[in-house]
């Protein structure tokens, strides 16, 4: 460092000199590649923060860039049409710039043009190529045709042990109260070697596919570079060829990778994957509750109907029984009365008949006649009732109260009664 010099200029003069050199070189125009660390808009101008990072992610160069309003809209719209997304931080860009120096605002780059294809670049171009290849090989829809079962108890997990995403996923499942059976198939989830590691994990799962109901492919958020591998063909093919439905939960909400396009189910985060799985049980439970409620309702209705019918029947039975017993009781009562009366009547009748017979016999008893002083004349034991049967020489017997006398008729004189 030189000793303190007596000659000095002002800062503005110094910067003016630098500016002059740059203007002489026409601002050193050229294409540069960098990453957008920030993008902002004000009064139609687009202000960019440009950075360059090394492999470790450390910033090695930095500059401000400006797209002035008279070309900002055109460039940004062209970019969006090509890349499918607006200018945003984190993307790599190729810009045609011109340096400019201002004594007041310092060094900056004036952005004159940009090449969207660079931004699509390695990652996006790879992604698009991967998607195209998967489509040509008829693999895009293959895993989507597999449905996650109604109750997916057994989950194979492809993730990195110790990763935040994996931890969140497992905690969520554990907190649900459902007794899941899970097994982690550990794999590198970023950087070099990640595609091969993940493909190997899927291979292991495929060998034991009968032991699981679904695969959860999960990883928490990260930079574009971190998540770049999830656009890789090898991973996408592994997912597509998997015989189990794959639930892909990679990164954050904004991230959308090839693996998401081929998986059976795509959710935004690892927690989202856990929620999806738990939700299946909640749906099944709700359905069961509904069926149970309807069954219960149906049974209640049927029981009420039976009870009603039984009550009616019981009523009819009681009524009929009452009628029956009343009628029968009445009949029985009548019958009893008749029986009693008939029995008594029967006996009385017989007694009356006997009395009549008695009267008859008493009337016919000869001793009654004899007791009154009369005699009964008989001839050979037969009563004489006709006087003409008496003649001389007939042997008569006269029965009297105190005995009988036998005699022979002599000098019989007959005096017959004349009829008046």
């Amino acid at each position: 460092m030189p000793k303190v010099c007596q000659k000095y200029i002002t800062l503005s003069a110094y910067l003016g000199q630098v500016k002059a050199v740059m203007e002489e070189a026409d601002g050193f125009p050229g294409w540069v590649v960098c990453e957008l660390a920030n993008v902002s808009w004000s009064r139609g101008h687009c202000y960019l923060e440009l950075v360059e990072t090394d492999a470790a992610g450390a910033v090695t160069a930095k500059a401000r860039g400006t797209i002035w309003s008279y070309r900002a809209n055109a460039l940004s719209q062209a970019f969006e049409r090509s890349c499918g997304a607006p200018l945003r931080k984190g993307i790599k860009v190729m810009l045609y710039v011109q340096s400019q120096m201002s004594e007041l605002y310092g060094f900056s780059l004036n952005v004159l043009d940009m090449d969207p294809s660079y931004t699509l670049g390695d990652l996006e171009a790879k992604k698009q190529a991967t998607l195209k290849r998967l489509e040509e090989e008829d693999l895009l829809e293959r895993n989507k045709e597999l449905e996650v079962p109604t109750l997916p108890f057994r989950i194979a997990i492809v993730s990195a042990e110790g990763a935040a995403g994996f931890g969140d996923f497992m905690k969520h499942l554990s907190d649900s109260g459902v007794d899941f059976v899970t097994e982690l198939f550990s794999a590198l989830m970023q950087g070099e070697g990640a595609p091969e590691s993940i493909a190997a994990a899927f291979g292991q799962i495929e060998e034991r596919s009968g032991e699981f109901d679904a695969v959860a492919f999960i990883r928490g958020g990260g930079s574009n570079l971190d998540l770049a591998c999830f656009d890789d063909y090898l991973i996408a093919r592994s997912i597509a060829m998997c015989s189990l439905p794959v639930i892909s939960g990679i990164g954050h909400e904004r991230d959308n990778h090839v693996c998401d396009e081929v998986a059976s189910v795509r959710v935004k985060t690892p927690t989202g994957a856990a929620d999806f799985i738990i939700g299946k049980f909640a749906d099944a439970y709700a359905s069961l509750q509904d069926v149970s409620a309807r069954l219960f309702e149906g049974v209640e209705e049927a029981l009420a109907s039976f009870e009603n019918a039984l009550e009616k029947l019981s009523g009819r039975f009681s009524s009929s029984l009452r009628n029956y017993t009343e009628v029968r009781g009445e009949t029985l009562s009548n019958l009893k009365f008749r029986l009693e009366r008939a029995a008594q009547g029967n006996i009385d009748e017989r007694i009356h008949w006997l009395d009549r017979v008695l009267t008859l016999l008493q009337g016919a008893d000869p001793s009654r006649i004899l007791d009154r002083g009369y005699g009964i004349v008989t001839i050979c034991g037969q009563k004489v009732t006709d006087i003409s049967s008496v003649s001389d020489g007939v042997r008569l017997t006269i029965m009297m109260k105190d005995g009988k006398v036998s005699l022979t008729a002599k000098d019989v004189v007959i005096e017959k009664k004349t009829e008046q």
Binding site: E340, A343, I347, L354, V357, A364, P366, G381
Partner: protein, 69 residues
């Protein structure tokens, strides 16, 4: 009567009816008539006794039946 042990109400009535027929016959021998009358009286007494017995027993049955109700 000699056959009292074997005599039933029905047999007595049958015999009594036969006696009545004989008694009603005006030409019936008188000595037989006396005999018939005596027998008839006895049979009447027997039958009445039987009937009284039936009456009492029937009343008892009716009474018993009413109590059971």
């Amino acid at each position: 009567m000699e056959e009292q042990k074997d005599l039933t109400y029905e047999k007595a009535i049958a015999e009594l009816e036969a006696i009545v027929e004989r008694v009603e016959d005006k030409n019936a021998p008188l000595d037989k008539l006396e005999e018939d009358i005596k027998k008839g009286m006895a049979l009447i007494a027997f039958c009445k006794g039987q009937l009284r017995g039936y009456k009492e027993r029937i009343s008892a049955i009716m009474e018993e039946n009413s109590e059971e109700k």
